[in-house]
């Protein structure tokens, strides 16, 4: 994983297809995607429901494997990895933020943030230190002992972001991170993501429905019917 060189892209998709079901029932979710994302980018993925953007995110997040095509992550062919190898890849290089937060209930914010570190075998001392740092970075200093049910949606999503960045990932995969939040909270979350992108050079790939959220990204990819829509070429989103 230490082969990042100047001319290599962090993420490289070539001819990715994904088919669910078989024969005449086959559903072609992705029909041949080519995509390159470089380290430090902030990419927004947009498109109507069923356009294949979620499927693409799952493949990018190493949660799913493509039916055909190649996915190189840091030069590694993800399609050839076993289930466990992909889990290890996620554990070490990927952070996830979900629309529904997916925090563990009845578990304190700090313990939620520490969770990925436990699987990485960090010592208790290191876990606490890095967990508190991550909470501080999302502006929740002092909230570590609260459980998700005691916190607002915005605060819960901040914890989820803290959990994603605590491992200092290469890429943060955000699946509609502001989908359940009001506009004020959404802006705060987006600013937080921008800060991580700019200050820590964490690559961010974010699925969103809202154009105003997509504007925070530097590049927007439009999905339509399992393909990247060439009508709206990717370009600088933010002015």
């Amino acid at each position: 994983m230490n082969t990042v060189s100047g001319n290599q892209h962090l993420i490289e998709l070539a001819g990715i297809t994904k088919v669910y079901g078989m024969g005449s029932y086959a559903m072609h979710a992705l029909r041949g995607i080519d995509l390159r994302i470089d380290k430090g980018e902030f990419v927004a993925v947009m498109g109507p429901s069923g356009s294949g953007k979620s499927t693409c995110m799952n493949i990018l997040g190493c949660l799913d494997i493509p039916t055909s095509g190649t996915y190189l992550f840091n030069g590694i062919e993800v399609g050839a990895l076993s289930r466990n190898q992909r889990a290890l890849l996620r554990r070490n290089y990927l952070g996830f933020v979900f629309q529904g937060y997916n925090l563990l209930n009845r578990t304190t914010a700090l313990e939620n943030v520490e969770l990925p570190l436990i699987y990485r075998g960090a010592s208790a001392h290191e876990r606490h230190r890095r967990g508190r740092e991550a909470l501080e970075a999302v502006g929740l200093t002092g909230w570590g002992s609260h459980t998700p049910s005691e916190l607002s949606g915005g605060q819960q999503q901040r914890i989820a972001i803290a959990r994603a960045v605590v491992i200092e990932p290469e890429v943060l995969m955000a699946d509609e991170p502001t989908g359940n939040l009001d506009s004020t909270c959404s802006r705060e979350i987006m600013e937080l993501l921008c800060a991580f992108n700019q200050e820590r050079r964490i690559t961010i790939v974010m699925v969103t429905h809202a154009p105003e959220m997509a504007r925070y990204a530097r590049r927007t990819i439009q999905f339509l019917d399992g393909l990247i829509n060439p009508e709206e070429p990717s370009g600088e989103g933010r002015s």
Binding site: L63, R91, N105, Y119, G121
Partner: protein, 403 residues
């Protein structure tokens, strides 16, 4: 890696106190029920066995009439024995330890202003030997007292307590109806028989005294005898039957007008009763264990369904399938062990309390403890593990989408 997993398991148990305690409760109830029931059943069996041995397992008795002594009916038709019958048995039957002729009457025993209705038994010192019954204080009858029918008596401990309370009974004179009787001894306590009769509610006087001064005849109601160690009571019983038929001139083919009963008969009646009792308790306990097992199963299944999203989250952030599984397995093992432990403690306490309340001995059966705990632990682990395995094998995307 294993420590992290144990840590995760303990965190998970701690943060779901209600679910964890419900799971534990199922195991606790199952284990405690089985241990209590079986321990009480074993206690009852031990009690009965002890009662039988308090009667003397090598003891036989001969009574006139057939079968159990009915209310009068059988008695009137058959002739009573006399002392000569006892002497003949003693002389002619091989392998006897002691032979005691006895007769009894119900009578009031009076001392001072105390009055106690009891049974008066006239017999010889051989009776104490047959019953393996010692005089706790004082002495047995002397040969002279027995021979001449002196008015002396030996009290059972119940009668002694009722009449004398804290006073010293020895040397005192009690009245048995019109008969004044000097107390020369007090018997040790025998407790109740297997049928619930108080064996200590008795006053012993020389047989001749009873015959002459109370009954007014020479009848002997029963002959008690004990076989020597290693002599079959069944063989003795046959010999006595033959001898008594001869003495009572019963023609071949005619029914006996007396009955020889050995303890073997009583033992088998009682043991079969307690065996049924223990089986019944065992069945009830098995049902409790089953219900407890179903409780564990339900909670484990519900909790895994509820936790599918959690499993999805863990898988997404990079947990391996086996790490998630190991966590659930450890949770199940820890919960089952705690439940088993509390169940043992609760079961033993309940059994001890029950045994105390029922006046039975507390008999610990380690086998049933092992079985109960093994069953509950197996249920806990199996139903904790297999649904978790199903969830851990899901695609993380599927698990995350789970509502």
């Amino acid at each position: 890696m294993i420590w992290e997993t144990i840590l995760l398991a303990f965190r998970s148990i701690r943060r779901n106190v209600l679910r964890s305690s419900l799971t534990i409760l199922g195991i606790v109830i199952g284990v405690a029920a089985v241990i209590t029931m079986v321990t009480l059943g074993d206690g009852a069996t031990a009690q009965v066995t002890a009662d039988i041995s308090s009667l003397g397992s090598n003891m036989l008795h001969v009574r006139p009439g057939q079968g159990f002594r009915g209310p009068g009916g059988t008695r009137s038709t058959a002739d009573m024995f006399e002392v000569g019958d006892a002497e003949a048995i003693s002389r002619e039957i091989f392998g006897l330890e002691a032979v005691a002729p006895a007769a009894s009457r119900s009578q009031q025993a009076i001392y001072g202003n105390k009055n106690w209705s009891t049974s008066i038994m006239g017999t010889t010192n051989a009776y104490f030997q047959v019953r393996d019954w010692n005089v706790e204080s004082g002495r047995q009858f002397t040969g002279g007292e027995l021979h001449s029918g002196k008015t002396v008596c030996i009290l059972g401990s119940t009668v002694c307590d009722e009449l004398f309370g804290d006073q010293a009974p020895l040397g005192a004179t009690i009245r048995l109806q019109r008969l004044s009787c000097q107390v020369i001894g007090v018997l040790e306590s025998k407790g109740q028989t297997g049928f619930g009769r108080d064996q200590d509610d008795i006053v012993m006087i020389p047989l001749r005294t009873l015959q002459r001064r109370i009954a007014g005849n020479n009848d002997v109601d029963a002959i008690y005898l004990s076989a020597q160690e290693g002599i079959s009571t069944t063989a003795v019983k046959k010999d006595i039957e033959r001898l008594m038929r001869e003495r009572r001139r019963i023609a071949p083919g005619e029914d006996d007008d007396f009955h020889v009963r050995d303890m073997q008969e009583i033992v088998s009646t009682l043991t079969s009763t307690t065996r049924v009792l223990t089986a019944l308790l065992g069945a009830v306990a098995a049902v409790s264990l089953l219900v407890g097992g179903i409780g564990i199963m339900n909670i484990m299944l519900v909790s895994v369904t509820e936790r599918t999203r959690e499993i999805g989250t863990r898988l997404a952030i990079g947990a391996l399938e086996r790490e998630v599984l190991m966590q659930f397995l450890i949770e199940a093992v820890v919960l089952s062990s705690f439940g088993g432990l509390f169940g043992i403690i609760l079961g033993l306490l309940a059994a001890a309390a029950g045994a105390h309340a029922l006046g039975m001995p507390f008999v610990l059966n380690p086998g049933i403890v092992v079985i109960a705990v093994a069953f509950s632990a197996a249920v806990g682990v199996i139903f904790g593990y297999f649904p978790a395995r199903k969830a851990a094998r899901l695609d993380p995307i599927e698990a995350l989408r789970h509502e």
